[in-house]
């Protein structure tokens, strides 16, 4: 049996918050397994321990108790991070580098062979639709562009697992939509994606499985469909609905012991309405204008 992408076992993390040995338990005995080639959402309110769990997983924090492994390699080991790409919350990169230089830099840090660096860089810049802005300095990027260049640096070494902390925080709906499509594209390339997000509607549409944390504990975990589905209810979407047919439908349902609860017109989401009425192709990448054209 192959190793899961992530295995977290009885993980506990305490932070010292006072001089008298007072401690804050940020993560409390969390156990979790995330299988390969899934999009997994780790949800919860601010301060519930999501980011701490992610940081322990990435070896940035030491656990107080328990252990984590990535594809069977303990998170303590630097080797475990060979197969991981990480996008931190509100990423901040070296402002003095251009987008292309930044991706190349991280490719080299991750040990991508020299002969492959250029191809990989262009490949991921295309994946995140940043090839037209890649020559600009990172300091000039909008939030959405920063997130996308952040995803590019996270996947340039072709990792199997990608960890995204609030990938759509502060990004407009167009940018969020682009990032969501990117995450789906990563899954189609065979990657496992673990993400933290507060945009629950987006998580619902994206994730195969979710876990909810509260006060450091894991309170719920499972497949999105199985958690959200009301098992004893179904909805029918009827085209060219005739109100006169409603009585007959109710009679048929009563014959089988069922009951019509509610009749309502299906609605599209506000996100969808926004996307349909804005130019989704111009995802915040701006345009280069030279002085002569301006004049």
């Amino acid at each position: 049996m192959s190793e899961p992408a992530i295995r977290i076992k009885n993980l506990t993390k305490d932070f010292r918050i006072g001089v008298r040995g007072v401690k804050l338990r940020a993560v409390d005995n969390v156990s979790l397994e995330i299988g390969d080639n899934q999009i997994f959402g780790l949800l919860g309110p601010n301060g519930c321990g999501k980011s701490t769990t992610m940081k322990i997983l990435l070896g940035l924090l030491e656990p107080t108790k328990g252990e984590c492994s990535i594809y069977g390699i303990n998170s303590h080991s630097v080797k475990s991070r060979l197969n991981v790409g990480f996008l931190p919350e509100a990423p901040y990169f070296y402002k003095f580098l251009s987008g292309r230089e930044l991706v190349r830099f991280y490719a080299r840090v991750c040990g991508v062979p020299k002969s492959e660096i250029s191809d990989r860089t262009e490949d991921v810049l295309t994946l995140v639709s940043m090839q037209n802005a890649a020559h600009r300095r990172v300091g000039t990027y909008s939030k959405g562009m920063l997130q996308r260049i952040g995803i590019a640096q996270a996947v340039v070494h072709d990792p199997k697992l990608i960890v995204l902390d609030e990938p759509t925080a502060g990004v407009d709906p167009i940018g969020s939509h682009a990032i969501a499509e990117l995450i789906i594209a990563l899954k189609e390339r065979g990657k496992t994606v673990m993400l933290c997000s507060h945009l629950l509607a987006q998580v619902e549409g994206l994730c195969d499985r979710v876990a909810i944390m509260s006060r450091g504990k894991l309170v719920l975990e499972g497949g999105v469909d199985e958690l959200l589905e009301k098992e004893d209810q179904r909805s029918l979407i009827i085209r060219d609905f005739n109100p006169q047919a409603q009585a007959e439908i109710e009679a048929v349902l009563a014959k089988y012991g069922s009951k019509l609860d509610k009749v309502e017109a299906p609605r599209i989401s506000l996100d969808r309405l926004f996307l349909e009425n804005t130019d989704g192709a111009a995802i915040g990448s701006g345009q280069d204008v030279n002085d002569k054209e301006d004049a």
Binding site: K55, L58, G59, L60, L61, E62, V78, K79, R81, L82, V84, F86, P88, A90, P91, Y92, F93, Y94, F96, F105, Y106, R108, V109, C110, G111, V112, P113, G150, Q153, H157, V163
Partner: protein, 281 residues
């Protein structure tokens, strides 16, 4: 596909160097230092004769010491905390990068900055000295002073580049060690300057150690003198630039001095890597 540690060290060092030279602080400091050394030209109005060269050299080396010390402490602290505060360290350390590689790479980057600074400053000082010495040699009234040729030892200035570099490197390593466990940039800078003063005045403790009768006190002072490197040992400018039979530094002594600096730098980097290993990012 992990690449070598050496390649990662060089990458981090190169990035740190680039970040430093693109900071206004570095550029302002370089311009100030150049202005200070170039201003030594005005000493010719005092008509010191051959002593003028010594005055110019002292003034120039003083400028290198002052600005080099500021650069070593401030730039090291700044470059380290910019990674922590801007959370670029988070992205970097989530990659297959060892923490000791990060710390050593940062140090090497700062060392490159210091090398560029010291080389530029001492090259400028050598140029000013050469130009002024050539002028003075044409005056008949100073003919006796230059009877045996030039007074300034320009090879010594080249040697001075490395001894100054190791001195500032040591100071940068001290700063990096303090930064590895402290929480703020300001705290690191203040404590580093205090340590620098202790290291500069450490010879006083060494002198008093030799006069002490109490073996316990002698032991404590001896331990302290080992704990803080003796920066006075690096004040070899006069021996290198104006060597005489009485005042000179042998090649063995010079190599020993560089070795002394290298050992302290290696130990401090080891300690920095150890304390940074468990730091929560």
């Amino acid at each position: 596909m992990n690449g070598s540690s050496f390649a990662r060290l060089l990458l981090i060092a190169r990035n740190t160097f680039l970040e430093a030279v693109r900071q206004k602080f570095f550029n302002v400091l370089v311009v100030l230092s150049i202005a200070m050394i170039a201003s030594a030209n005005f000493f010719r109005q005092f008509d010191f004769g051959s002593s003028e060269l010594k005055f110019i050299a002292d003034f120039g080396m003083g400028a290198v010491l002052l600005f080099g010390s500021i650069l070593s402490v401030v730039v090291t602290a700044q470059l380290f905390f910019s990674e922590i505060e801007n959370r670029t360290a988070l992205t970097m350390l989530a990659k297959p990068v060892h923490r000791w590689e990060f710390i050593t790479g940062k140090f090497l980057g700062v060392f490159l900055v210091l090398m560029a600074f010291v080389s530029l400053m001492l090259f400028l000082l050598a140029a000013v000295l050469y130009w002024r010495e050539s002028n003075l040699m044409t005056y008949p009234r100073y003919a006796d002073d230059f009877a045996n040729g030039r007074i300034v030892n320009y090879t010594g200035i080249l040697q001075l580049v490395f001894s100054e570099l190791f001195k500032f490197g040591l100071l940068a390593a001290v700063t990096l060690f303090i930064a590895s466990f402290s929480n703020t940039n300001l705290y690191t800078v203040i404590i580093s300057f205090f340590v620098m003063i202790i290291c500069q005045l450490q010879y006083i403790a060494r002198d008093s150690w030799s006069d002490l009768d109490n073996p316990i006190l002698r032991g404590i002072v001896w331990m302290l003198s080992l704990l803080f490197p003796n920066l006075q040992m690096f004040n070899v400018g006069e021996q290198l630039v104006f060597p005489t039979e009485q005042v000179t530094l042998s090649m063995g002594g010079y190599i020993g001095l560089l070795g002394y600096g290298a050992i302290y730098i290696a130990v401090l980097l080891g300690l920095s890597a150890y304390t940074f290993r468990r730091r929560e990012i």
